[in-house]
Symmetry: D2
Subunit: 211 residues, 4 copies
């Protein structure tokens, strides 16, 4: 393969889940695209951080606080969800990543607020609690309890080892906090699954969360 | 293929999930087995219903009530679970099939009793409520409430359309029954799954059953 | 679970690919079957070796040579394929198992004869060449060459390590035999597969067998 | 979601095989990258067509013919393979896409030349023969036959409907061309597969390509 081609393909491998083959396919596909499109995508990537940022309250994606043109839209770097007066402010659902928030938002079933931690506790990879937006969550909770007598904190970290560690950490931090009700997304049987083939851990959770 | 071979293979196709190919493989494999083994398996199948039966209380597998040699073991056609004095008699977990009971029993986490319906309500296939052991369940509940002020009925039908129909039917039947607490095995996120890729229905259940 | 139930289920685990769960399902399913069916299946298994045997020429399934009632049908313990005068006697396709023969026979594309080895060479599991029907194959070839100037021996052992070993062994045995043309089923790209994702070994074979 | 975020994510959906979710993940991941990296990737995409092109002979990826700085390297817009004097010029392997070429090149087993068609014949999607580099292939063959008495044309289009159509088209075009030997990559059993479970079409090809 051409050396410059390889270099460019390597840049694409930094995208999450993209290996050398998919990266090569991306470059080859882009070579068939019109010039304007390459220009548009290239400039969007180059200027990414000048155009979008994270919500200063919940760390969801938002417009940039400093951009005057966009400021009027959601107000001072707050995301559309935090800015929406109709959302139930007595509920905060805590997720690891923006894409998790997005999954739940797409169900249309949750009407409260969110908090994006920016990952899960995983000391081996350097994700200690200080790296996550946990202090910011503590601060939000203190503020929220001034306006609302009770606050449900729904822990929605992933059903994985690191998600469980994070969940336990948050439980210890907030379980004695007056006014905070801690819940966690249920684990159990998947829809369409079969009791007969369910593994032991799933059955254990299905029994525990039964109601 | 040899016609007698085909005939025999066809008999094996009546086993659940066994297609023509697997049936042929079974016969070919048996042809390599020693005579005694074929004799033993053949006789066990031929006499199956003379040797084992269903528990007259919960419809789990049991020894046959009429067999004097076995009767002493579990007592009058009752299965080992119903016969065990240490099981918690204030809980009945309702499953569709013996294999479902077996799955839960293998977790070692449930210490109550069971009730095997013998299937799920599915009118298209002729599985009307009368075909299932529901009258027997009603009778058991009435009897159980005489000895225990409260009885938890844990509905553990499959998380499928027919399992849901059966669950709804049982709820309507027992929800106003004094002393009966109805619960259902939780649905939710599978262990090791990822919030980001969870489907809408799973997230809906994970929110509903949260605690 | 009931001890006699467990014993019977264990007998079913001797069927190829049947684990404890499937075995239990088989027994439970049989308990719902009518008595006559259990009798029929049980007797067929018990008498299996009295009713069917292997072809004395190619080791395919056949009627038993000693059974007078069936003898007229295919003649002296020969299978229907060996007995069929329309088959091309200048081709012998060598397979590991009767089920492999059956797969090829179902395509309807092959009109020659077969030879079932009864396995593949695998010294670790005790499958040495003497355990397979290789001496019988040598004898057949000598006899066949008396009637036909040329004989194609199509090696159709599995594309696996043991299948490859067996193939090599047969090649060494017959490659200098005058009149014998050795071929092997092609390896290559699977229909509907994609060159881009094909592994190296598949591409190697696809190049080798190209024509 | 933020509208500008959505717009940018949409640009990524133009990459092959990237859906809305993966596109969103890409943008979120890029937001965590340092500015320099975004600048580098953005500029590489923006200037893609100024930096790399397609080989004027075989349509593999190459440096741009017009770029003086690179020209010395592979010579006038020819790719490294066409430029390599050690490659066997009496073989042309015809593939649909650059990524297919790359797969075969990675095996290290093929030492001839390539020809990238740029797709397969698929009239429904507008891929008529004229859209592919077939005229260019005809021209190459005429030229090649001047230097070499015989030329093997190895058709390596995909084992799919459109790949088969393209293969047939090329066969008709070149089968009476003196000096051209047409072959096609073999189809057959995949390594590690099992004869017993092979589908009919695979067995058909395995018989056809046997040797």
């Amino acid at each position: 393969m051409n050396p410059r081609f390889k270099q460019i393909a390597k840049l694409f491998q930094k995208l999450p889940g993209v290996g050398p083959r998919q990266a090569a396919r991306f470059v080859i596909a882009l070579m068939d695209r019109p010039e304007e499109e390459l220009h548009e995508l290239g400039m969007a990537i180059k200027n990414l951080k000048k155009e979008i940022g994270f919500c200063k309250t919940c760390f969801n994606i938002s417009d940039l606080p400093a951009m005057p043109a966009h400021a009027g839209q959601t107000g001072n770097g707050t995301c559309t969800i935090c800015h929406d007066q109709k959302r139930d402010k007595s509920k905060i659902l805590v997720v690891e990543k923006v894409t998790d928030l997005d999954s739940i938002e797409k169900t249309g079933l949750y009407k409260g607020l969110y908090h994006v931690l920016g990952g899960a506790i995983n000391p081996i990879d350097g994700y200690t609690p200080e790296k996550l937006k946990i202090t910011e969550l503590q601060y939000r909770i203190v503020t929220a309890l001034k306006n609302s007598p009770e606050l449900e904190l729904i822990i929605a970290t992933n059903p994985s080892t690191t998600g469980d560690t994070t969940s336990l950490y948050l439980r210890e931090l907030f379980q004695n906090k007056k006014g905070v009700v801690l819940t966690r997304l249920a684990r159990g049987l998947a829809s369409g699954s079969n009791l007969e083939y369910a593994d032991e851990i799933t059955l254990k959770h299905a029994l525990e969360y039964r109601k």
